[in-house]
């Protein structure tokens, strides 16, 4: 069943949706464009150096590279969560991030979060709406209904009232995906969404991302598993501190042999090697 799903996903992976004729001005620009982007805590120690690439609208790209290559740092740097050398080196829909925050969703690594926090699955999904709601406004009935809908899309309608501490690792990951879904973003950045998840979760997330892509959403995900990257993603960026290659996933990963010649171990664990969750 998994192979069939992968086959179906692979079949649709090569096509990109046509651009809408009624695009807004910001849509004329690439959802994400990096020009000599560098990130890190000090000038002498930059995990990301001079990264340059453009993501086209509706593309679905895996950011692939060895453990410690700086993939997560790049994602966080793009979003201003870690220090960057030049913030203007990253443009979102032709604008700085501050102007288009509502169009961008971020899904951090599951292991970085405090799952003992006393909240239900629905609470966490509703957090995706906080940016849109703004300060002072409460989560109302409509917002809760939207969050419920997103939970249903990831197959967790039954678990909306469940404390997040009681969810399995895969269910937690799906909750985070649902939180990203309610943001209705046009660009979704995900950090290891498929790391240490069960098969149902992997299929569900892959399906949801494909559906988003079909609607024109642009997706960039840190991914470590070369075994699944071809079946889930259309494009890939081969990354190790610098962008080594970017293009259709098969062609780019063919370059992996070149990368190996340089001593890069590509089939590696996620950046954060350990997942401390008890329920995963």
């Amino acid at each position: 069943m998994m192979d069939a799903t992968r086959g179906a996903l692979e079949g649709s992976a090569g096509t990109r949706p046509a651009k809408s004729a009624t695009e807004s001005p910001t849509r004329l620009h690439a959802p994400l464009e990096l020009r000599n982007f560098s990130a890190g805590y000090s000038a002498s120690e930059l995990p990301v150096v001079d990264a340059s690439f453009v993501l086209e609208r509706g593309s679905m790209t895996a950011l692939v590279g060895p453990n410690g290559a700086g993939k997560s740092t790049m994602l966080k740097g793009i979003l201003g969560l870690t220090p960057v050398h030049d913030p203007s080196a990253a443009r979102f829909f032709g604008e700085p991030l501050e102007r288009v925050r509502g169009k961008v969703a971020y899904l951090p690594q599951r292991s970085e979060l405090d799952w003992s926090f006393p909240a239900s699955a629905l609470d966490i999904v509703a957090m995706g709406l906080y940016g849109r709601l703004g300060l002072f406004r409460r989560v109302g009935r409509a917002a809760r209904a939207e969050a419920r809908e997103a939970l249903a899309l990831v197959g967790l309608a039954h678990a909306q009232d469940k404390p997040i501490g009681e969810l399995s690792g895969g269910q937690r990951q799906r909750v985070l995906v649902a939180r990203a879904l309610v943001q209705r973003a046009e660009l979704v950045l995900l950090d290891e969404p498929f790391a240490n998840v069960d098969e149902v979760t992997e299929q569900t997330i892959a399906r949801v991302l494909q559906e988003l892509r079909a609607q024109g959403t642009t997706i960039l995900a840190v991914h470590h598993d070369l075994g699944t990257v071809r079946s889930i993603f259309a494009d890939a960026i081969l990354f190790n501190t610098r962008v080594l290659a970017h293009g259709p996933v098969r062609a780019t990963l063919a370059d992996a042999s070149v990368a190996r010649a340089y001593g890069l171990a590509l089939n590696t664990a996620p950046d954060t090697a350990h997942d401390a969750e008890r329920n995963s």
Binding site: A105, L113, D114, F117, A119, L122, G131, P163
Partner: protein, 294 residues
Amino acid sequence: MTQNLLPLVLAEIGRNTLVALLGCALFGAVAGAVGTFVLARRQALIADVAGHASLPGVCIGFLLGEALGVGGRTPWLLVLGASCSALLASVSVPALARLRGVGPDGAIAVSLSFFFGLGTVLLSSVQSHDSGAQGGLRSLLFGSVAGTTSADIVALTALACVALLVLVTFFKEFAALAFDESHARSVGLPVRRLDLLLLFLLVVTVVSGMQVAGIVLVVALIVTPAAAARAFRGSIARIVSIGALFGVLSAIAGVALSLRFEHFPTGSAMTLAATAILFATLLLRIRPTRGVVT
């Protein structure tokens, strides 16, 4: 226990004590509610620092009141002094933690002991003051509801109301911050300002309860009821509400016990009551579906 003691208290005390009781209950509610976020942000020991560090501020407020001729027990001066020193100590912790070899726990120990040491020096200076108005300050360490004036209770209530307002207004933002700071930042929430606001909320709560719960033990009213509430399941709002309820029960039981048994410090009684509730909730935690180990 509370139901049995309450009629006794009401029979023995007058209107002033009833008002004090209600004020303490409000403080307990706020402390128990704020505690959920304090625990989630790993700031329990910052609450302890803020409590201990309010002592030098109170003493400076007292001495200033005496010097200005408005009286050492002027509540707004005590509150202002306590808030300033508690806030200063709280923000000093991350600054000290950045020093090489100190670390967060070392910074907490350095800050807490310095401010408390300074406070005890100033307290001895206050106690040598010849005004006779310093009586209430003696019970500041472990709290005393009997030693408070009606102006003290007004100050307590006003501060608890400010804290409650801040908590209700920024409830969802504090929740987002507590669970996933990176995501909160990515959706454009002003994370740094919210963090400072949470610290302000913590300090206001500490200062609100310092006279009745005592500066040494006020942390217990913030942390223990919230910790007890974690034995329950449900939404953030539900857990925070349960923490608030446990805070109210702890505060009322503490006041009742300290009035019933003389020389029983109010803060100590509140702390014992809160801890008793925490132990009672352990029974919930060992049920298989909610097990301690999950």
